[in-house]
Symmetry: C2
């Protein structure tokens, strides 16, 4: 049951979140919600970054909409949980058993969710420990939780799994790549894949608001970027001017991973004519990007970040196995045992 | 002078529209504004499609913001006018003389505009005859008005010049292409270029709300599409189901040219895995597209329509010369002499 009737689950304002699986659905016990970065930032700002108030707001949204679909940002996140029931029509089709731990790979904006209580809100990571239930439709994507990677870390990585998979496709040897918001989750993974693809004759430049944070320092130390530029991407001319000073030919590929609005023009200004901009940030405004490129007459290809790509979960998790310093950083920041 | 200070002209809420050219600017006398389709539809709906009220609303927006930047849709349009002054620093740089008739190829969302009066609003085309002045910055794009194409027609075509240029790049021989909103200006031009590129072994399917309109009938008659599908693209499952019935392999390229919100999912459902969706519509929601593809696990490349591409004005105008039936349709609908 959707409101309005006939809408698709994501378009619908409210979906039915009765925690009972139809025969082509999975019912899961939910342990952790991983709120997407743009949404969590908005929730945090509107709740004074108070864990309790953020939790109350999430309960309020879910009780109103039947899903964790932030009405301001329009974005969601994902969950980790355990399989409680496998609908009869699915039992022979899916490689799953009751009790398996899985991560959802579809957005919470289209996942029926029922929250019994909030146990904890981690204001630094956007992860929320809950007791609740969720339904996954037959077409929904999910991944087995890996045995060699901490749950909280895997969740953090899987949440942004679209970015590294796309960066692998877009970048090639010898290119100059600029990653805006290089110090966040998706930015870190993007830098690792960009550097692996462009190779020794290419160049990866990370743009960060602060070069003294643990993640920014790790980027340089682990060689995931060649250069770090400290700037506010919302100040388009100033930030892109710094990139141009370092790389006068500008970037073949720009990857936008920020979680604040207003960075479209900076992204466009950093890209050379004929270059590609990959907007992974959910704060991206379609019209600002479309009209921004036209406004400055920059002939660039602008791509909407797709949260899905074939094999994206494996690609994203493998990044940690291939980059021990990156893995250590994620462990320090996101591991469950940390709390 | 911008509000807030330091913002770029498009990001700014209000720009200074004093009709005086700086030494690196052009001052133009404006004859016609061509409001972009998404914006004009919104203006029409909010004004009961009353020409006078639409004109008053445009005057109100321009007096508040210093530019025709629709606060609801975030989009603008373009203008045609005559060069009044060429700033001293530009005189030797540009192929222009005072008195030349030009069309602006940058969005009205970043063009300082001063309106003295509205002469007429054409509710059917979104063209507004005015007496006014506009400033073009040094970096702005413009085109000489062609001598062999009616002014109103050229303006209509130049407004959407990004679409045909991009469709040429994206399509290749033998492909299946779906154009959603095939019967509008950008849709018609896109179909012509898609059909030219995919050739006799490819297929172009136009999706339209009504097959009995003059433009829909012309599409079939002139061979700009192989098939027409009548559906409402906002009903994603029903509309894409019709496309799938015609082309079970789905589309290599989907071009979205509608002027209503809520058609992202239909576009995604029409594209095959590995396909490309070109969102030219300014009604596109970034999050709806990004999360929609993730939600159904469709591995597609989604592109933000760039209003600019090298040579796009010439490409767009040439379409009319190459397709007499298309040219005749545009003449009938958009020629100045018609009014």
């Amino acid at each position: 049951m959707l409101e309005p009737a006939g809408a698709m689950p994501q378009d619908a304002w409210r979906i039915d979140n009765t925690p009972v699986a139809a025969e082509n659905e999975l019912l899961c016990e939910v342990d952790v919600l991983n709120i997407d970065s743009a949404s969590f930032r908005q929730l945090g700002e509107s709740c004074g970054f108070d864990a309790q108030r953020i939790g109350e707001r999430v309960v309020e949204i879910v009780s109103q909409r039947g899903k964790q679909h932030n009405p301001v940002t329009g974005s969601g996140g994902m969950f980790v949980g355990r399989v409680l029931e496998i609908g009869a029509a699915l039992r022979d089709k899916v490689d799953l058993s009751v009790g398996d731990r899985i991560a959802s790979l579809v957005s919470l904006t289209l996942t029926p969710l029922y929250i019994e209580r909030i146990d904890a809100v981690d204001v630094t990571t956007g992860q929320i420990w809950v007791r609740g239930k969720a339904i996954l439709f037959e077409s929904a994507l999910w991944a087995h939780m890996p045995s060699d990677i901490d749950d909280g870390v895997a969740l953090a990585v899987l949440d942004v799994a679209g970015a590294p998979a796309q960066v692998r496709r877009l970048c090639s040897a010898g290119q100059t790549v600029v990653v805006i918001g290089a110090d966040g989750k998706s930015g870190l993974l993007s830098c690792a894949h960009a550097k692996a693809r462009v190779g020794p004759h290419g160049r990866v430049i990370g743009l960060v608001p602060d070069s003294t944070t643990p993640s920014a320092r790790m980027l340089l130390r682990a060689g995931l970027v060649d250069d770090l530029v400290v700037a506010d991407a919302r100040s388009a001319l100033e930030a892109s001017g710094q990139i141009e000073a370092l790389a006068p030919q500008l970037a073949d590929v720009v990857v936008n991973c920020v979680n604040v609005p207003g960075t479209e023009l900076c992204s466009i200004l950093c890209a050379k004519d004929g270059g590609t901009i990959y907007f992974f940030s959910m704060s991206t405004s379609f019209t600002a990007a479309a009209l921004g490129a036209e406004g400055i007459g920059r002939d660039v290809t602008m791509m909407i970040g797709n949260g899905y790509a074939k094999g994206h979960a494996d690609t994203a998790l493998q990044t940690l196995r291939d980059h021990p310093e990156l893995h250590a950083y994620f462990n320090q920041k996101y591991a469950r045992t940390r709390t």
